[in-house]
């Protein structure tokens, strides 16, 4: 036996890491690289886990009650909140009213909320309000900007409480919080899905140095009933409903892009907020229904660069109503065409090492958008400018975040 192996075995003491009623097997004094065996650094237990166990200790206190805002874009009365009352009422809502600002949006009694219409957006942002879309649910990102909380959950007003296979109501928000407060594993695939879930772990062959995971920035939830299809698929399969409940949460691997849907989405504002820009869509713009896709491609490239995780899977919501496929086709058709060039662009995008904050990453990405996508259509030059305006507006409304990020 070589001395290095002997050393390895003597170091092979495991930390019995208690998480709820679950013991996680994490290597204690196990260094990330075998050549580091002689540097005895005790790994710190993730503060995020301590947070999780502390916060989850009392089931009566809603998780992250004072650290999360729920952002809802809407053009109608928010009757859908009635069904969500047991889960949402303890939280603060930010309602972004789209369309006619003179219309009165009724919010069911008992909810704590602030509401912004177009006049408010124009007043608060001044000329910078040009970066916020109008007559498109992309306007929701204004809510991300004005929030002062660490976490955001955003949901569409045609989304209702889904039931799990046992018939129980799914608390979508609670599941998103669990996703955000437990680490992600973007560097290696775990075949039993989220290794941090109760009853699961890392399987044989999963490198021990990667078992600490990385912070989770985004939690992408799914939809039962009406699936999130594009207009062509809606036209071809008008009666298709999603009835399959897949009981899994997983990390989307580093280097892999995904179609992020904004219908049922949560994220850590401090980690990724400034990149959660939903672009220029709707009124006066050549496309719609690509707001969340654009944000998803941008955040994924930046999360990969900064070593942050993106999870998808649970929770499900019940998506009640399919939008009109003919209207959608009109909104989408340029996007369907353009995305064939956008995907290779984002797949090939790399950010320089110097970009260490979300803001600097995002500004760099806007430059690359202008340089490489501007030739497809002048729209991308405008979008690149709007990306910069968005960051300026974000930093104006979030001056402390600017300092936190070391700028």
């Amino acid at each position: 036996m070589t001395p290095i192996i002997a050393r390895f075995l003597s170091n092979f003491i495991f930390l019995f890491h208690k998480k709820g009623n679950q013991t996680k097997c994490l290597p204690y004094l196990y260094p990330p690289h075998p050549l580091n065996f002689f540097t005895h650094k005790t790994p710190s237990i993730r503060s995020i886990d301590l947070h999780l166990s502390t916060t989850m200790a009392s089931s009566t206190t809603p998780l992250l009650k004072d650290e999360l805002d729920i952002v809802i874009p809407t053009i109608r009365n928010l009757d859908f909140l009635e069904m969500w009352r047991p889960f949402f009422q303890p939280y603060h809502l930010i309602i972004v009213q789209d369309g006619d600002p003179s219309k009165i949006i009724k919010v069911p009694e008992g909810f704590d909320y602030e509401l912004y219409n177009r006049n408010d957006i124009n007043r608060i942002l001044g000329p910078k309000s040009s970066c916020i879309s109008f007559k498109d649910s992309a306007c929701r990102c204004f809510g991300y900007m004005v929030s002062k909380k660490k976490y955001i959950f955003t949901i569409d007003d045609d989304c209702f409480v889904a039931k799990d296979p046992s018939g129980n109501d799914i608390n979508a928000l609670e599941q998103h919080i669990k996703n955000l407060l437990s680490p992600s594993t973007p560097f290696f695939f775990n075949t039993l899905y989220d290794p941090y879930r109760e009853g699961a772990d890392f399987v044989r062959g999963y490198p021990f140095s990667l078992r600490e995971g990385v912070s989770t920035a985004v939690s992408h939830g799914l939809w039962l009933n009406i699936p999130d299809y594009d207009a062509p698929t809606q036209l071809v399969k008008p009666r298709e409903r999603n009835t399959r409940f897949v009981d899994a949460v997983m990390t989307i691997p580093k280097g892999t892009l995904f179609p992020m849907c904004g219908m049922n989405l949560a994220f850590d504002r401090e980690l990724i907020g400034p990149a959660m820009y939903f672009g220029l869509m709707g009124d006066g713009q050549p496309i719609g229904r690509y707001d969340d896709m654009w944000a998803g491609w941008c955040i994924k490239v930046i999360c990969d660069h900064l070593g942050l995780g993106v999870k998808t899977g649970l929770p499900y919501i019940w998506h009640s109503k399919a939008s009109n496929p003919f209207v959608n086709l009109k909104k989408e058709y340029k996007g369907i065409y353009w995305q064939e060039e956008l995907i290779p662009f984002f797949q090939g995008a790399t950010l320089p090492k110097e970009c260490t904050t979300v803001q600097s990453c995002y500004k760099e990405l806007s430059k690359q958008v202008k340089a490489k996508l501007g030739k497809i259509d002048d729209y991308f030059n405008k979008l690149a400018d709007a990306m910069v305006t968005w960051i300026e507006a974000w930093d104006e409304l979030n001056p402390s975040a600017e300092i936190t990020n070391g700028k």
Copy 2:
């Protein structure tokens, strides 16, 4: 409207592609890149799909009855086959007897099989038999080599029929065949999992040019009851059982490695067979229990290079018995240590364009193993040599395959 957009819309006719009782939305005359709009190539409907619909037309004929071998490594009587009789009996079995060749292995009546013990392996391969492991389930790969079929399913003899959440027996083999006969999508993540499954499709934002997918080379199934944990995790969580049935199949994205378990695995021999080498393990070797992991890393790098797909998820089998964690720790400990260098090696491995066959990819990989891993331990020099011997033996037993691959 620009002429190119007008052209696009006129081309936007969809092929109503019938698959069983399911209609798939595939773009007809939709080229992979928008700049190719003027080259009107009609995409051929995948022969693989025609095969699928033809083969599945009659539910009384077992799928791929004459095109698939079941490979089972064992040291004991194969009583476990009784439970699998309804599903396996129509197929041919290749049994690879490990350990004492004088021992008689009893196979339940009515199964069609051939059996190879160590004496047979030595006789058939001569000096090249050195590449086949002894006293380790890695010996199973000899069965892959002697098979003359297009598909292989391999299963351990402590794996039984699992039940789905409705209490029905799961026909694991049928699900593997479905996985192998439908395409994979390694270039972009689909949030509703396998888009080719009934009741699912590609979601909004999924590029149309990628919806044809690529051929699936490997189908990796999972395990209910005893999860496939390494020795340290077994020691820490002796009572953990996998009870979560995740109703999903998904493609492991390009560029992402995974821990491939050989317990419940199927693959297309013609597409990836020569890379399915389970390495040097067990008797006379410094490690064990890394046979399938090694094969998994190699096949993933080669599938990524050749544009082939790897799926994981369904089907589940019921894994009955946890192996001894103390024995496992002894087998694994060098692997646990070495894998911290192996993973970065495989993550960084690239193959030259000239490598267009699995054999040439595998030989190139063996060179890189020798050059880059030989310094960790002399074992990797031996392993690299065994990889070459394996390919030589494969080509000797499969001369037609050599021609098929254009060598």
